[in-house]
Every structure is written in structure tokens, then in C-alpha cells.
């Protein structure tokens, strides 16, 4: 039989029981819609994590000092006072392929200004720090290498600190007191929001690391060193070179530092969302399976109802394959129409979720194509048994069927 006629007959049969067809397709609609929505939201979450990781800075390598044990208590990374400014200088001098280095010293302090006070993280950094973290200065300027050399009492403050202490007014040029030492505010950092671990990155004050070490914390060592590699291609080599330089400087002593890079962190973070996406999609595809069984059920009912029609067709010369094709195409049309509606529904609901929650949502073409092909395949798979049952009917019995 011609393909066009088969399609026409199938559509007519589906339209005859419009309500039933819609309800049958609903299983597929929900299944496909759920898969599309889950994958889209999952992809969006992944993109957001990647963006957050990228916001920590591009191609950043971090050197932490080793852990310290005292009286059997082992501290975490960074607890041992083993990294020095000389280590940072050696890295800057000897390792090629780096574009910025910032020794870091951090502690928390009560800061005062404008008659108000606020407890915040005071970070000793180098002038490279904003570039390494790809962090813009909103107003004013970053302190300079000269400020580092002269152990200047200058600082750059984060957005949160600015909001808390200088609610109505420009903080640039004003004075901030840290441990009762006046620091001149040179600039305000752009807002960066919360990081992956839920910390407010804007709640910080940056001072030259020399000023931090000599005037505030009075430490002789630094807790970590941030290094920015020139590109992602050289990051592994740079990491290796840093390890080598620091190991050489320790002259055969056990290494008391660790070197980590951003890529590892990004991989860990995206792997988690990837797993979640897969899990959700797997759960959603169970409903596709249930939808397929619904199609099979209705096709079986349809074959029984139309036994006489099948008998007539067989009697006037239809081959079993014609009848098989007819029911198979009917099931496939039902499921792929359900698939199309489900795709639209999935895109719509993921857009809605993104609109309501402000999550980014990425509808991937691949997931749409796969969902469509899969829904058509579900129809074919679950339609095959009823169609074969119809095709194998005996024309005499089918004609007599009441």
C-alpha cells in the first residue's frame, strides 16, 4: 500500500478517538518534556558552575604551605609557616609562562570607618591580584608595586565593605582603620558575588602583602601564592616548574607545600552537576518507558476494536505487512507527535524555571534530537507487538468478529 494512504488511514484512526489519542500521547509528552527540562536545567547548572569557576580567575595555580603537626595534632594545608616571600620571588624569577604572582596573607579583623565598624577578611596581596582573579576595580585604582615596596598604608575594599561602612558616599580617598592603623582607600572592587562555596567574595579588604605582614599580622611567612599561567596550554608545565623550583629551594627536605590548579577544581565541580543531570534524566526516562507501555496498551485495544476492519482489508488483498505497517505507523505517529509536544513543553517549562529562579537554562540541540528520535523509537518498539498481532489475524476469523 502507498505510504501516503497509510499515513492518511493512521491519522484518521487517531482523530476518530481524539481524546484517547491525546491521553495516550500524554505519557510520551510528559516523559520527553521531563527529560528535556532536566537536561536543560542540568546543562544550565553546569554552565553556571563553569562560569563561577572561571570567575575565580583564568589558569590560576595556587601554592599552599604544608600542614603542621604539633603534639600529634595535624593542621590542614597552609597551617605550616613554610612559604616565604622569597619562594614567591623565586617563582616569579625562574618560572617562564606566568603572567602574575601574588603572595597571600589573610586574617580577619575589625575595621572602622565613618564611625561604623565591620568584621571582614583582610587580605595581603600583590598588585597582580585583581588581574589574576579577573576582578575589575569599580572606582579608584589598585595599589602599586611602589606601595608594596614602601609598605604603604593603603587598601582597596570590596563592595560589601563599601556598602556597610560608606552607605552614602564615595569611599575612595577616605580612611579605613585596621587595628587602629589608618589605611587610605585607593579603590573599590567591582561586585563579584558569592563563590562556589557560598562565601561573599566582596566582603574583603585588600592591602599590600608587605603592609599586612609588617603592620597587621606581623608574620614572616605567607599562607599561599597565587600564580596565573599565560594560557591553559602551559598550565601543566608551569605547575611542574613551580614544584621543581620550590623543591630545589628546600634542598632535599621533604616537600612542605602543595600545588593545585583551577582545572582540577573545575573538573570536580562540573562532574558533580554532570552526575546530577544524568540521574535526573534517567529518572525522567522511566516515564518515557511508562508512556511507551501506554501506547502498547491502546494499540492492543485498537487492534481488537478494528478486527473487522483488518479482516476486510485482508480479504480484499492486503498483505500482513500492509496491516503491520499501518498499525506501526499509527503508533509511531502517536509517539512522535507526543515527542514534539513534549519537546515544546520541556523547553517551555525549563524557560519558566529559568525565569522564576534566575537559573541559566541551556536547551541543547542534541537533547532535542535525541528525545525526538527516542520517542519515535518508543512508538515503534511498543507498537510492534500489537501491529504484528493485527497482521497475523486470520481473515475469516477477523471478518466474523463481532
Amino acid at each position: 500500500m502507498r505510504f501516503g494512504s497509510i499515513i492518511k488511514v493512521a491519522l484518521r484512526a487517531l482523530l476518530r478517538n481524539t481524546m484517547r489519542s491525546i491521553l495516550t500521547a500524554l505519557g510520551i509528552i510528559i516523559g520527553v518534556g521531563a527529560v528535556i527540562a532536566m537536561v536543560s536545567i542540568g546543562n544550565g547548572a553546569k554552565a553556571q558552575v563553569e562560569a563561577q569557576v572561571a570567575s575565580l580567575g583564568q589558569n590560576v595555580i595556587t601554592v599552599f604551605s604544608g600542614s603542621m603537626s604539633s603534639g600529634g595534632m595535624r593542621g590542614g594545608w597552609g597551617s605550616a609557616p613554610t612559604l616565604t616571600i622569597e619562594d614567591a620571588e623565586a617563582i616569579e624569577r625562574e618560572v617562564t609562562g606566568i603572567v602574575g604572582v601574588s603572595p597571600e596573607v589573610r586574617d580577619r579583623n575589625q575595621v572602622l570607618a565613618n564611625g561604623l565598624n565591620w568584621n571582614t577578611s583582610v587580605n595581603g596581596e600583590s598588585p597582580d591580584y585583581p588581574d589574576i582573579r579577573s576582578w575589575k576595580i569599580a572606582s579608584g585604582a589598585m595599589f602599586s608595586d611602589q606601595d608594596v615596596r614602601s609598605v604603604a598604608k593603603v587598601c582597596v575594599i570590596g563592595k560589601t565593605v563599601a556598602d556597610q561602612l560608606f552607605a552614602n558616599g564615595d569611599p575612595v580617598g577616605q580612611t579605613l582603620r585596621i587595628r587602629n592603623i589608618p589605611f587610605k582607600i585607593l579603590g573599590v572592587l567591582d561586585s563579584k558575588g558569592f563563590n562556589l562555596f557560598g562565601q561573599d567574595q566582596d566582603d574583603a579588604v585588600l592591602v599590600p602583602y608587605t603592609s599586612h605582614m609588617k603592620r597587621l599580622s606581623r608574620r614572616t611567612n605567607i599562607s599561599s601564592i597565587l600564580i596565573q599561567a599565560a594560557s591553559a596550554d602551559v598550565i601543566d608545565k608551569v605547575q611542574k616548574d613551580i614544584t621543581e623550583v620550590l623543591t630545589q629551594r628546600r634542598k632535599g627536605r621533604e616537600p612542605d607545600f602543595t600545588v593545585r590548579n583551577q582545572v582540577e577544581l573545575a573538573q570536580t565541580a562540573t562532574a558533580t552537576t554532570q552526575t546530577m543531570t544524568l540521574l535526573l534524566a534517567a529518572i525522567a526516562s522511566v516515564s518515557l518507558l511508562v508512556g511507551g507501555i501506554g501506547i502498547m496498551n491502546i494499540m492492543l485495544v485498537s487492534v481488537t476494536e478494528r478486527t473487522r476492519e483488518i479482516g476486510i482489508r485482508l480479504a480484499i488483498g492486503a498483505h500482513g505487512s500492509d496491516v503491520l505497517m499501518q498499525f506501526l505507523i499509527e503508533a509511531t505517529i502517536l509517539s512522535s507527535l507526543g515527542g514534539v509536544i513534549g519537546i515544546l513543553l520541556g523547553i517551555g517549562s525549563s524557560q519558566l524555571v529559568s525565569h522564576l529562579n534566575g537559573w541559566p537554562v541551556l536547551v541543547s540541540t542534541a537533547s532535542v534530537v535525541i528525545a525526538f528520535v527516542f520517542s519515535a523509537a518508543v512508538g515503534m518498539f511498543f507498537g510492534f507487538y500489537p501491529a504484528r498481532k493485527a497482521a497475523q489475524l486470520d481473515p475469516i476469523d477477523a471478518l466474523r468478529y463481532e
Binding site: 480479504a315 480484499i316 488483498g317
Partner: protein
């Protein structure tokens, strides 16, 4: 010219139950081209089984069946379907039209299956031509539910004719119709037969059998009588008689 239907010692035994049922017990029969045969018998006489065998809907257990010179007794399912499509036309007691499908589309149906390929235009034209033969071309777009029993049966006859079959097989074609409509349908058959189409029909009504040229009577799976109809009925005269009888009974208005 060879006979269009030639069956030799044909048997059909159903093995499905506990006891095998010997429905047809050795029937030998020849039907010439242009013949008009009524197959009669009480229920259980095997006439339906014989009709299914003649219609290639079923295969004989033993014996040979030559249809238009081709031995069809051992063909497979698909080959039998092609034979039914190309060489046979079926008319059933219950009309068996596809519901919610127009008269024209019902008539087109056999042309959609089968090996011969037609263009959409050819299919339409042939179907319209066949509806014209049975006098229903004005109602081509009606659904079966919008047609009377007699009209539905005429659509079914048009469908049976559309592939220009060698034999038209009718299984109790008037069984669901009243006397007048039966006579009308028999009139259509007689007209087709006059144009040279071979017709075999099953009936249990003697007066319907009298419209045919030849009557076969089956009993317990065996052919017990084969005779020509001497006092043959003709649709035109029968309808005339009915009209005057109805007029006498004031059932309808008298025709001038």
C-alpha cells in the same frame, strides 16, 4: 475456453476441536465464464466453508482448485492475498464497508493494495466508474452510516468490481435486506452477469436463488444437486410485481 473455476475432489477438515470436523467431503465442480451460480444448503452443510475455499480465504485440506487456470490450493498467505485482490471480488452479508470512510474511498480500497500501480487520478476515475455502474455516483461522498442497507450493499458491489475480477463471490448478499431491496440488489447482479461477469453467491432463500442461472445444493459437505434454473426470476418483473402488490395493500402510492 477453460472453466474459470475448477475444483477437484476438494476436502476441508478442521482439526481445531477434539473431534476433527469434516466440513467439505470431496466436492468436484466446474464453473464456466459468465455463469451465475447460487450455492444453497442448510446451516452446517459446508456452504460457508466451500465459499471460503472458493474465495481463497482458506486452503483445502485435500484436492485441487484451479482459478482462472492457476492452481491456488497450495499458495502461501501473501500469494492468496494477491489472488483475492486481482481475481476475486467479495460481497458480504453485513456489507463490511469501512465506517467513517466515504463510499468512494471504500471503492478505492482494493486498488491501494495489490501489485498494479495506479495514479491517484486513475484510482478516482475507476472508483467513480464502478459507483456509476451500481447507480450511486451521486452519493460518492456519503459515509456508510448515511446510506441505506441496499445502497451500502451496492457500494460493496462496486468495491468488488473495481479490480475487474474473474469471479464475483457474494456471501448471503441479501441476508440483511428486505424483499424490495433484495430484488434491487439481485437486479444489479443480473445486469453485471449480462455484461459477462461470473457470479457465485451463497443464499438460503429459494426465491433469491431463482434469480440465478444455476443452483447447487450442498448437504453434509457433499454436492447433492446441480441444476439449471428453469423458471428464472428477473429483477425488473419482480419489482413490478412488488409495486402492484404494495399498491394493492396501500403500502405505497400507486405508480402511474
Amino acid at each position: 475456453m477453460p472453466p474459470v473455476v475448477k475444483i477437484e475432489e476438494i476436502h476441508k477438515i478442521y482439526e481445531s476441536g477434539e473431534v476433527p470436523v469434516h466440513a467439505v467431503r470431496g466436492v468436484t465442480l466446474e464453473i464456466e465464464r459468465g455463469d451465475f451460480v447460487a450455492l444453497m444448503g442448510a446451516s452446517g452443510s459446508g456452504k460457508s466453508t466451500l465459499m471460503n475455499l472458493l474465495g481463497c480465504l482458506d486452503r483445502p485440506t485435500r484436492g485441487r482448485y484451479l482459478l482462472d487456470g492457476i492452481d491456488v490450493s497450495q499458495l502461501d498467505r501473501n500469494a492468496l492475498a494477491d489472488i483475492r485482490n486481482q481475481k476475486l471480488g467479495f460481497v458480504f452479508q453485513g456489507f463490511n464497508l469501512l465506517a467513517r470512510t466515504t463510499a468512494l474511498e471504500n471503492v478505492e480500497l482494493p486498488m491501494l493494495y495489490g501489485a498494479r500501480k495506479f495514479t491517484t487520478k486513475q484510482i478516482r476515475e475507476r472508483a467513480m466508474h464502478c459507483l456509476d455502474i451500481v447507480g450511486l455516483s451521486q452519493r460518492f461522498d456519503h459515509f456508510p452510516s448515511q446510506l441505506s442497507g441496499g445502497q451500502q450493499q451496492r457500494v460493496a458491489i462496486a468495491r468488488a468490481l473495481v479490480n475487474e475480477p474473474q469471479v464475483l463471490l457474494a456471501d448471503e448478499p441479501t441476508g440483511n435486506l428486505d424483499t424490495r431491496t433484495s430484488a434491487e440488489v439481485m437486479g444489479v447482479f443480473q445486469k453485471l452477469n449480462d455484461e459477462g461477469i461470473t457470479i457465485v453467491m451463497v443464499t438460503h432463500e429459494l426465491d433469491i436463488a431463482h434469480f440465478c442461472k444455476r443452483n447447487l445444493i450442498l448437504r453434509d459437505g457433499v454436492l447433492v444437486r446441480d441444476e439449471s434454473v428453469s423458471n428464472r426470476s428477473f429483477a425488473a418483473t419482480e419489482l413490478e410485481k412488488l409495486s402492484s402488490a404494495e399498491a394493492a395493500a396501500k403500502l405505497t402510492g400507486a405508480k402511474s
